[in-house]
């Protein structure tokens, strides 16, 4: 029986961490536990299976190549799952990664039991003064942290763009899914659920006006809406239309008699004796 090597143990441990981490219900902890194994384990497993995760390897390029192989693994695995009619999900992915790791450990063990490997590390280490790699990794880490700090401070203290204010006026509820003219009986009352959203940094007092075929319908109504808030209500009016197909326009004005900011146009089909066709 060939003993499990240290790289195999490391890869298996990474896969274990990935498997357990993926099902942890605390989102932040899940990300912390999973992100690195997810980006390293599949690639490392491939290297293990190929027999090149051995000896003294060049840490940064090997990790980079491992990450690249992992990034390549996921699309190819997703295609295999698709061909096998298996949904791409948390469970299926964990099973695929664990399956790959297991398979590669077995391949590695079998190969070693047959003959000693003559392979070199995938990217062999470069001899440098002791601690040189660690020293510059620390330098990079410090610079990255300082830059991240700069970004965080910038986001916190520098002024950001304010979105241009606007007003949103719409039908709401089931009426939003309207498919065509509204059918009403001549002389009956019509209620139209509407919504007004004030996307501005100040409260606004809108005026709601209605016109049926250009003629004023009822009296204008004040609609106060706080800043960044939505008002929902309804327009109600009696429809005494002269024709069979009439246009009802609901206008939202900044002030009485002003130019409309936004409007809704509805078509009213009157059910009456003369409008059967």
């Amino acid at each position: 029986m060939t003993p499990i090597t240290r790289p195999a143990v490391m890869v298996a441990a990474g896969a274990g961490l990935l498997t357990i981490g993926t099902f942890i219900p605390v989102p932040a902890l899940r990300v912390l536990l999973v992100i690195v194994p997810a980006l390293v384990v599949p690639g490392a497993a491939v290297f293990l299976g190929l027999g090149v995760l051995r000896g003294r390897w060049d840490p940064v390029p090997t990790l980079a190549l491992g990450a690249m192989t992992s990034l390549a693994f996921y699309p190819l695995a997703a295609l295999l799952l698709y061909v096998a009619h298996i949904r791409l999900s948390r469970t299926s992915l964990v099973v695929v990664v664990d399956g790959l790791v297991l398979a590669m450990i077995v391949v590695d063990a079998r190969r070693r039991s047959r003959r000693p490997s003559t392979l070199r590390p995938i990217l062999a280490a470069i001899r440098e003064p002791p601690g040189e790699t660690r020293r510059w990794a620390r330098w990079l880490g410090t610079v990255v942290l300082c830059c991240a700090g700069s970004l965080a401070l910038g986001a916190r203290f520098l002024p950001a763009a304010a979105p241009a204010p606007f007003t949103e006026f719409s039908l709401t509820g089931p009426m939003a899914k309207l498919t065509g003219p509204i059918s009403v009986t001549d002389g009956s009352s019509l209620s139209v659920p509407i919504s007004v959203h004030n996307a501005s940094p100040t409260p606004r007092r809108y005026v709601l006006a209605a016109r049926l075929d250009g003629a004023t319908l009822g009296s204008d109504r004040q609609v106060p809406v706080p800043r960044e808030a939505t008002w929902s209500g309804s327009f109600t009016g009696d429809i005494n239309a002269p024709g069979c197909l009439n246009e009802l326009v609901l206008e939202l004005l900044a002030r009485p008699g002003g130019t409309p900011i936004a409007s809704i146009d509805l078509w009213i089909r009157t059910r009456s004796a003369g409008c059967l066709g």
Binding site: M68, V143, A155, A160, A161, F166, L178
Partner: protein, 690 residues
């Protein structure tokens, strides 16, 4: 300080040629005995260097401290300045200060990096750390441009596709915005996989990926050039050359398939170079073959153009390997293996094209045809060349740098070719192949003068890898000659830095327009600055109140939001389906169009009234073939947009200050409204009842 590769002790295989040739190569390219010399076959054959007396105490002088601290301080200061530049651009009227702050930030980081990397002192680890820092730093501008949501056109489309794949649980989810992306699901499936594992959102996974890809790309270039030149100094300079390439800072920093595929491209080249470097070790070659193939297959399923560029680069390497001077059995074996790898990748690309994504040809053909036709037209003198930077608000120094960039590159590359001309038989064939591939950059330049300039720009992402290799190789040769005195070293560092600065400024300005680069006031039809909160709110309203998956007709600009944030299905306008009739003409749309809209069950129409006030920045409202996109000087008349208000088959269900959403009801086409406000409605009614 000396570095030696710690390979397997039993291995006695030279890299490219015989041991002697390898030593010659070292003499030619990597006379760096004083620093962290990277791997070379000669190193493998030599005993490890003595450690004791050669480990001298570092010479700490003010200049040494400055060199050591400079890059770190520059990167932090550069990040801070970029933050200020983006805040300024977002909150002040457009001017020149945001450009100045931007370039101060960039130069604060790049100049110390270039100066440090071009010197002979730094160890390999230091160079690697500096290149990695450059990779991360080059993503900062794009990160600041849209830190909280996708913004660029392609980015939004890919973000939506990745979300769709995540929700559907399988690849090949149709996209109505760019139909082809469903057949290249590499990025979407990778993102969905990482989303499933980590629980992060699509945008968060995308951001993590892009930081990582920027890092991996430059490490890849470093490893590639280091293996080819046996010089970490060359590798560092080449890494920086690629960091200042046109697409690296913005285009390949967006969440799109090329951003992922280009990194596969680089690492596949690393694999083929390592395969060739494995000498006679068949098993080691097999390892690199398999790893390279995994990466290449991922590239094939991720992006079409990158795959074809990869095949081209591999062919160049294969040809160079075949026609090398030595013809012994090992060289022939290497050539066969290289061709086998190239053939396998090409076959995979062809199979994917034929069986999965046959639409790719139709997608790419107009661009290729346009480029060739444009060039022929230019040669015949049919149309004058396209004016570069016409109407651009870029500062003059950026435009000057953009024109200077190809000239500087030409001079540097010509010098490099002259320097390596006599040594070409002793250089790695992959270096020659990649150098030849890089020269395609110059062939693409005339295309910039045609209407298909986009194709030329897109090719630079790939050809710059070849240029980086060539410039890296040159820097070893020249750098060695300048290492004699302090003044000469300074001159070399200054020259390298100056070249990199010109390339950086020129490349960014030629690749990325102002609207993509900086936030600012609304610009109609600009993709980035027309994606307002108002538009996003309208798209979100339709999705929430009516539901996703509605068939809607809208312009390209608004469609970007409705098709992605709104998750709706968009009409694909064409001359056969001219939905622009609804917007451009004051007359009733043609019966054919109405029939098509009815048959395809289109439910909603979106109108932006700014369409009647502005010409779109991208040059067209719907798509390039719309009439009269090429010669349009005025927007469509306001009456063409307001006509829809009086048509009884359109109900306005939503409106904002600028946007309106209408519901189609084609059963009412020809209905006669009482007291219609618009002549076209009356005419339609009369026509229907005639």
């Amino acid at each position: 300080m000396t570095a030696t590769r710690l390979d397997h002790p039993n291995t006695t295989v030279p890299l490219w040629e015989s041991r002697q040739a390898a030593l010659d190569l070292n003499t030619l390219l990597a006379d760096e005995s004083h620093n962290g010399r990277p791997p070379s076959p000669a190193d493998r054959l030599q005993p490890p260097p003595p450690s004791g007396n050669q480990q001298q105490k570092p010479d700490i002088r003010p200049s040494t401290v400055l060199y050591a601290l400079g890059p770190g301080l520059g990167l932090v200061a550069g990040t801070a300045l970029l933050c200020v530049a983006y805040s300024w651009a977002a909150t002040r009227p457009p001017g020149n200060l945001e450009f100045l702050l931007f370039w101060l930030g960039e130069l604060a980081a790049i100049v110390p990096l270039a100066a440090r990397l071009s010197r002979d002192g730094p160890s390999r680890s230091q160079r690697l750390a500096l290149v990695a820092a450059a990779g991360l730093f080059s993503f900062v501008p794009k990160f600041l441009r849209d830190p909280s949501a996708p913004l660029f056109h392609d980015e939004l489309v890919h973000w939506h596709e990745a979300q769709a794949v995540f929700q559907a649980g399988h690849p090949f989810v149709p996209s109505t915005l760019i139909s082809l992306i469903q057949y290249f699901p590499g990025l979407a499936t990778l993102t969905a996989s990482l989303q499933n594992l980590t629980g992060l959102s699509t945008f968060q996974v995308g951001t993590v990926l892009l930081w990582l890809l920027h890092l991996l790309a430059l490490i890849g270039v470093f490893v590639l050039v280091e293996r080819l030149t046996n010089s970490s100094r060359a590798a560092g300079i080449a890494g920086l050359v690629y960091a200042v390439s046109p697409a690296f800072m913005f285009f390949d920093a967006q969440f799109s398939y090329e951003s992922l595929a280009i990194v596969f491209f680089i690492w596949v080249l690393v694999c083929i170079v390592e395969l060739q470097a494995a000498g006679s070790s068949t098993r080691q070659q097999g390892v690199w073959f398999v790893v390279g193939l995994i990466l290449a297959l991922a590239c094939v399923v991720t992006h079409h153009v990158t795959t074809y560029a990869l095949v081209l680069a591999l062919v160049a390497i294969s040809v160079a390997t075949t026609f090398r001077r030595r013809r012994d059995s090992q060289a022939r074996h290497l050539a066969r293996l290289t061709w086998a790898f190239t053939g396998t990748v090409a076959s995979a690309a062809a199979a994917w094209l034929v069986f999965v994504a046959p639409g790719t040809l139709n997608y790419l053909a107009p661009h290729l045809k346009g480029g060739v036709t444009g060039l022929l037209d230019l040669v015949r003198g049919g149309t004058g060349p396209r004016s570069l930077f016409q109407g651009s608000s870029l500062p003059g120094y950026e435009r000057a740098a953009a024109f200077l960039t190809p000239v500087v590159l030409l001079l540097v590359v010509a010098f490099a070719l002259w320097r390596i001309k006599g040594q070409r038989h002793r250089l790695p064939p992959a270096l020659l192949g990649l150098a030849a591939f890089g020269l395609l950059y110059f062939l693409s330049l005339p295309v910039m003068l045609t209407a298909e300039s986009e194709g030329a720009r897109r090719s630079w992402t790939f050809t710059y890898v070849g240029l980086a290799v060539l410039i890296g190789a040159l820097s070893v040769d020249v750098g060695r000659r300048f290492d004699g005195s302090r003044r000469r070293r300074f001159a070399f560092a200054a020259a390298v830095t100056a070249v990199l600065v010109v390339l950086l400024v020129g490349n960014v300005s030629v690749q990325t327009n102002v609207d993509y680069r900086f936030p600012g006031p609304y610009v109609y039809g600009s993709d980035t600055r027309s994606l307002t909160t108002e538009l996003l709110s309208a798209a979100a309203w339709l999705r929430t109140e009516v539901g996703p998956g509605q068939r809607i007709v809208t312009t390209r600009d608004d469609g970007l939001a409705f098709g992605t944030i709104g998750d709706q299905l968009l009409a694909a306008p064409s001359t056969g389906f001219p939905v622009w009739e609804l917007y451009f003409s004051t007359a009733q749309p043609s019966p054919n169009l109405l029939d098509e809209l009815r048959a395809a069950k289109y439910g909603y129409l979106v109108v932006d009234d700014r369409m009647a006030r502005f010409l779109p920045e991208v040059g067209f409202y719907f798509e390039p073939s719309e009439p009269p996109a090429a010669v349009r000087t005025h927007p469509p008349p306001q009456a063409a947009l307001t006509k829809v208000d009086a048509l009884p088959w359109l109900t306005r269900i939503y409106s904002t200050d600028h946007l309106r959403i209408y519901r189609f009801d084609f059963t009412e086409v020809g209905a006669c409204p009482w007291g219609s406000r618009l002549a076209v409605a009356v005419l339609a009614c009369l026509a229907a009842h005639r």
